[in-house]
C-alpha cells in the first residue's frame, strides 16, 4: 500500500486486510462492484466494460485490475472480497471459483483441498518468521476463468 505505514497484520502472508485506509482507497472500486447488484447495471457493464467503468472515479490500476479480473490486485488496491464477489457473480462464477483463482489453483484442486480439511495454518502464520513459513500459495496472475466445473458445493453462492 502506498502512503500508509507498515501495520502488524501486513505480516500475515497472502492476506490483504480491508482496513480504513484500503476502504478509503477502494471506495469507488467497491461502489462499482455494489452497482452490479442491479440487473440493468450488470447488463450495461457486460455490454461495454470499459465504458461502464467511466462512471466511477477509478485509478488506472484499479481499472486494469477489474478488466483483467485480477482479484488479488483488486484487494490490494482497496477492494473488499464481499464487494468483488459481486463482480465474480456477474461473470457467473461461484465464490469457491474466485477463491481458487486467488490462490492460483483450479477450482477442482481447491475444492479437494477444502474437503481434505483446508489450508493448514502451519507455515502460513507469518511472513517475518521464516521457521513458521512453509509454502504460501503461489501468486500467479489469475488464469482465464475456466469453464465451470461442477463441484461438490456446486452453487453460485458457494
Amino acid at each position: 500500500m502506498t502512503g500508509a505505514k507498515q501495520k502488524e497484520y501486513d505480516d500475515i502472508p497472502g492476506t490483504f486486510v480491508f482496513d480504513a485506509d484500503r476502504s478509503r482507497q477502494g471506495y469507488h472500486l467497491n461502489m462499482f462492484c455494489m452497482s452490479l447488484m442491479k440487473a440493468e447495471n450488470r447488463k450495461a457493464f457486460k455490454a461495454n466494460e470499459s465504458e461502464y467503468l467511466n462512471r466511477f472515479a477509478l485509478t488506472p490500476e484499479q481499472r486494469e485490475a477489474i478488466l483483467k479480473r485480477n482479484y488479488n490486485r483488486m484487494l490490494e488496491l482497496g477492494g473488499n472480497i464481499y464487494f468483488t464477489a459481486k463482480l465474480g457473480a456477474t461473470d457467473g462464477h461461484s465464490f469457491q471459483h474466485m477463491a481458487a483463482v486467488m490462490t492460483g489453483s483450479t477450482q477442482e484442486d481447491y475444492a479437494k483441498m477444502m474437503l481434505a480439511g483446508g489450508r493448514s495454518v502451519e507455515g502460513n502464520r507469518s511472513k517475518s518468521k521464516p521457521e513458521a513459513r512453509a509454502k504460501p500459495a503461489p501468486r500467479k496472475p489469475p488464469a482465464k476463468p475456466a469453464s465451470k466445473r461442477p463441484t461438490s458445493s456446486g452453487s453460485k453462492r458457494g
Binding site: T15, F16, F18, D19, M37, F95, Q96, G117, G118, S153
Partner: protein, 327 residues
C-alpha cells in the same frame, strides 16, 4: 420480566443457504453439515423462545462502503430478505420486536454503547442462514427476531471485549423489560475461514476447538484475544467470531454446554455450532455454616476438582458430535 434463557452460535456460510434453496440438503456433502443441526432444531422447538436477538454481519447487502456502522440495532417491524445478486432468498420476512428493540436501544445507549438505530433494513444470509439452521424452513419464522448487525467487514471490527460487554448491556436491557419474554441470543459467523487473497482456504480446527471450549468455560480469555490473533490463526474472515462474544456476554457467567457440532468444510469455511444454557436458578444449596469459612482437608480440595474436571471432560466428549470431513 424478560430473561435470556440461552445462547446459540453457528456459522452463516452463504453456500448453506444456497444448498437449502436449491434442494441439495440430502446430498452427502451437505447432509454432513445439516445432520449436525437436527438436534439443534429439536432443542429450539423445546426452548420455544418468544424472541431471538440475532448478532450477525451484513455482507455488502444493506450496508455498502457508504455507511459502515460498528453496531446497528434493527428496531423495525420487519426485515425483508435482501437480494444478494440471485434474487432474495425464498425465506420468510423476518418480523422484528420493535418494543423490545427500542427498549434495548434506550438502555444500551445510556450504558455507553453508541448504537446505530436502523428502522429500515434488508437482511442477508448472515441472518437468514442461522435461522434456517435453527428453525428449518417454516412458512413463517416462529418468533420475532431482533437483528444486531456488527461491522466485521472493514477492519477494525469492535474488539472481542467490546462485543462481550455489549452482550452484558443487552442482558441488562432485556432483564429490565417489563413483559415476560423468554429470549435466546444467537451469535453467528465463523468459524475459521479465509475467503480472500492467496491464503484463501485456511482452516484451523485446533483454534476453533479451543474457541468453543473457552466460550463455555473461559470467555474472558477470548474477550482479551487481539484481532491479529484471529486473523493470523483463523483467517482474515475468521475475525467474525468476535460476534459470538456478544452472545456469550449476554449469558450468565456459568453456563451449561448442551450441544456442539463442528465440521469442515462448507464451501470455504469451517462450520461450528454451540448451544449454551444459562444454569437454571435453582434455590442455592448452602453449605452448613460450620463448613463455611474453613479450609477443607487438603486432599479433598486437590482430588475433587480434578475428578470433577475429568468427569466433565468425559461428558463433553460424549456430547460432542464431531463429524469429520471425508478424506
Amino acid at each position: 420480566m424478560a430473561k435470556i434463557i440461552a445462547g446459540v452460535s453457528c456459522s452463516h456460510v452463504p453456500a448453506i443457504g444456497a444448498a437449502i434453496d436449491n434442494g441439495k440438503t440430502e446430498e452427502p456433502y451437505w447432509k454432513r453439515v445439516f445432520s449436525g443441526f437436527e438436534k439443534s432444531k429439536e432443542w429450539m422447538a423445546q426452548a420455544k423462545p418468544d424472541v431471538v436477538i440475532a448478532i450477525y454481519n451484513d455482507h455488502a447487502s444493506a450496508f455498502s462502503v457508504e455507511l459502515i456502522p460498528t453496531f446497528a440495532l434493527g428496531c423495525a417491524a420487519e426485515f425483508p430478505p435482501a437480494d444478494e445478486g440471485w434474487g432474495p432468498r425464498p425465506v420468510p420476512v423476518v418480523k422484528g420486536h420493535p418494543a423490545l428493540a427500542s427498549h434495548i436501544a434506550q438502555s444500551v445507549i445510556l450504558d455507553e454503547f453508541d448504537l446505530t438505530i436502523v428502522n429500515k433494513m434488508e437482511v442477508d444470509h448472515g441472518l437468514t442462514v442461522p435461522l434456517n439452521l435453527m428453525f428449518g424452513s417454516p412458512k413463517e419464522w416462529p418468533c420475532p427476531v431482533i437483528p444486531v448487525a456488527v461491522n466485521v467487514v472493514m477492519f477494525p471490527p469492535p474488539t472481542g471485549h467490546r462485543c462481550f460487554m455489549l452482550g452484558r448491556a443487552i442482558r441488562k436491557a432485556v432483564q429490565s423489560f417489563p413483559e415476560d419474554l423468554r429470549v435466546v441470543v444467537l451469535g453467528t459467523g465463523g468459524m475459521s475461514h479465509q475467503i480472500s487473497g492467496p491464503r484463501a482456504g485456511l482452516i484451523n480446527s485446533k483454534f476453533d476447538t479451543a474457541f468453543l471450549d473457552n466460550l463455555t468455560k473461559d470467555p474472558g480469555k477470548l474477550a482479551r484475544m487481539p484481532h491479529l490473533e484471529y486473523m493470523r490463526e483463523a483467517g482474515a474472515e475468521g475475525i467474525e467470531m468476535v460476534m459470538w462474544l456478544v452472545m456469550r456476554g449476554a449469558l450468565d457467567d456459568k453456563v451449561n454446554e448442551v450441544y456442539r457440532f463442528y465440521t469442515v468444510p462448507a464451501s470455504n469455511t469451517a462450520v461450528g455450532h454451540i448451544i449454551l444454557e444459562n444454569k437454571a436458578r435453582a434455590p442455592r444449596t448452602r453449605r452448613p455454616s460450620s463448613a463455611r469459612g474453613k479450609l477443607r482437608p487438603a486432599a479433598k480440595t486437590r482430588r475433587k476438582p480434578a475428578a470433577k474436571r475429568r468427569r466433565a471432560a468425559a461428558q463433553r466428549v460424549k456430547r460432542r458430535d464431531i463429524v469429520r470431513s471425508k478424506r
